[in-house]
Subunit: 261 residues, 2 copies
C-alpha cells in the first residue's frame, strides 16, 4: 500500500462515521498538511456517496478551523441531497473533541461528463522534470511532509511574480487519481515565498474543482495570487496531467505569513 | 426600505433560526435567483456572527440543492467556530421541508484588515455607463429579477470570448454593501450566452470572497469562463467599486444550459 493510500485509510465507525489515524509523516510547520486532510475527507465522502453512483468530487469546499496533529481523528459525513446525476454531502474532521475542518462537497461521475472542449487552460511551458530544480526548504520549517513527494520547480519562471510552478509526483510513485488532485491543488509553498516570506500561510477556505481523471505520470502544478491585499491572500491553483489536460483547479483564501526578517 | 433590504429581511424564529419571505420579484427562469438567496444567507450569518465582532463575509461557499419559489422559507444557522479575528458558521435555507441551499462561511471585520497592496486586479477598461448598452432578455425567459437592477454591458467587449462585463446598480439606487456584493458575483447572465445558449446555467457551487467594503455608486462586474469542458462550466467573476478597487470575487461550478435551437 502506498503512503498516500495509507494516510487516507478509514475505518467505519457507525453508519456515516469513520476513524482515521493522522500521521506525523504528513506534518509541516507544526501541523498536519491541509492538502492530505482534504484527501482524507474526500475519501470519506467517496465512501459515503460512491455506492450511489457518485464516486468523484466535482466541487469540494473546505473551511479550516484549527490545526491537526499526529494521532487519532474522526470523520463524520452527512448526505445532504442524493440526486440523479450529482449528490451533495457534508463532512467534519474532529480531533481531541474539537472540529478541525468542515467540508461541503458535490460528487458525481467524471466518466459520465461530456468531453466537448469550449474553453480550458493549457499547461504553462516548463522544462522537463529532469531540467527543473528542487528547492531546499526554509531551515526553520518542520518538513516531514516534503519527503512524501517530489517537487521540481521551473527555474525559468520569472521571480518576483506572485506565482510558482513545477512538476509533482508522490515519492513512492503511486499514480495520481482524483483524491491526489485534492492534495495537489494546495501542494506548492505559498506564493508569498516569492516575497521572501517563508512562513506557512494558514488556509481559511479552499475550494477544489476536479475536472477529469488524471492520466498516470507527473502532474504540472501552478499557484498564483492575483489578489493579495494586506491581511488576506487569494491564491489560485491549476493542476494538469501528463497529457497536458487541466484536471483540477483550486482557489483558497489564506492568511499570509508574517514578514520574515 | 429598499427592495433589496426588503428581500433580505429576516424574522428571528428561535436562537439561531430565521423566517424569511421569498418574493417572486426576484424570480428568473422559474426560480428565485441564487444571488439574492446568497445575500439572504449572508444576512442571516451576519445576524449570527456580527454581535461577536465579525459582521463581514470574507469567504462564503454555497451549494445549491434545489430551486426556490416565492413564499415562506426558513434559515437555520450554526456557529462552527467563534474565533478572535474570524468566525466560521454554517447555514441552511429550507422551503417546503426541503433543503434548498447549504452554506459554509468565514466572517471577520473588513475594517480591521491591512490595506497594503501586493497584488490586485485592476478593473477592465469600459466606456462609462451612459455609453454602455442594455440587452433585451431572451424572450423565453421569465424575468422579474431583471427589473430589480440596471445592467449596462460594454458594447466593445470582444464577442465570442466566454466573458461578459458591464456596470451594475440596483434600480432603486440603494448603494452597494458587502451583502449586495454576494449578489453581484453572480448577477450577469451565464457566459454561455456568448455561445448562443440563452438558457439559465444552474449553479452547483459558488464561493464568494469579499475583499473590501464598496464605495457608493456603480459597480463594475466581469464574468469569464476559463474552463468549460462538456458537462460542467467553471465561471469566475470580479466586482470593482466606483473607485476601481476590487471588492469581491467569485467562482462557480455550473451546469451549462442545453444547446439552443
Amino acid at each position: 500500500m502506498s503512503e498516500f493510500d495509507d494516510a487516507l485509510r478509514l475505518k467505519p465507525d457507525g453508519p456515516s462515521a469513520y476513524a482515521a489515524e493522522l500521521s506525523d509523516d504528513w506534518r509541516i510547520g507544526g501541523a498536519i498538511n491541509g492538502g492530505i486532510l482534504l484527501g482524507l475527507l474526500g475519501s470519506a465522502l467517496r465512501e459515503t456517496l460512491g455506492p450511489g453512483g457518485h464516486p468523484d468530487p466535482l466541487s469540494l469546499s473546505a473551511y479550516y478551523l484549527s490545526s491537526s496533529h499526529g494521532g487519532p481523528a474522526s470523520v463524520d459525513t452527512e448526505v445532504v441531497r442524493a440526486g440523479g446525476t450529482v449528490s451533495t454531502a457534508a463532512a467534519t474532521l474532529c480531533q481531541d473533541g474539537v472540529d478541525r475542518m468542515r467540508v461541503l462537497a458535490t460528487y458525481g461521475d467524471l466518466g459520465r461528463l461530456g468531453g466537448e472542449v469550449h474553453a480550458t487552460m493549457p499547461p504553462p511551458g516548463m522544462p522537463p522534470p529532469q531540467e527543473c530544480v528542487t528547492l531546499p526548504p526554509p531551515e526553520s520549517l518542520d518538513t516531514a511532509f516534503l519527503n512524501r513527494f517530489e517537487l521540481r520547480f521551473d527555474p525559468e519562471a520569472p521571480s518576483g511574480d506572485l506565482a510558482m510552478q513545477g512538476w509533482f509526483r508522490l515519492a513512492d510513485d503511486r499514480e495520481p487519481d482524483v483524491l491526489l488532485l485534492l492534495m495537489a491543488v494546495d501542494v506548492l509553498p505559498p506564493v508569498t515565498f516569492q516575497l521572501g516570506r517563508f512562513g506557512w500561510a494558514p488556509t481559511l477556505e479552499l475550494t477544489a474543482h476536479v475536472h477529469a481523471h488524471p492520466a498516470p505520470g507527473w502532474l504540472r502544478v501552478r499557484h498564483e495570487s492575483r489578489h493579495f491585499v494586506g491581511g488576506l491572500l487569494q491564491e489560485d491553483s491549476q493542476v494538469w496531467d501528463s497529457t497536458g489536460r487541466l484536471v483540477a483547479s483550486g482557489r483558497q483564501l489564506a492568511r499570509p505569513p508574517r514578514q520574515s526578517n
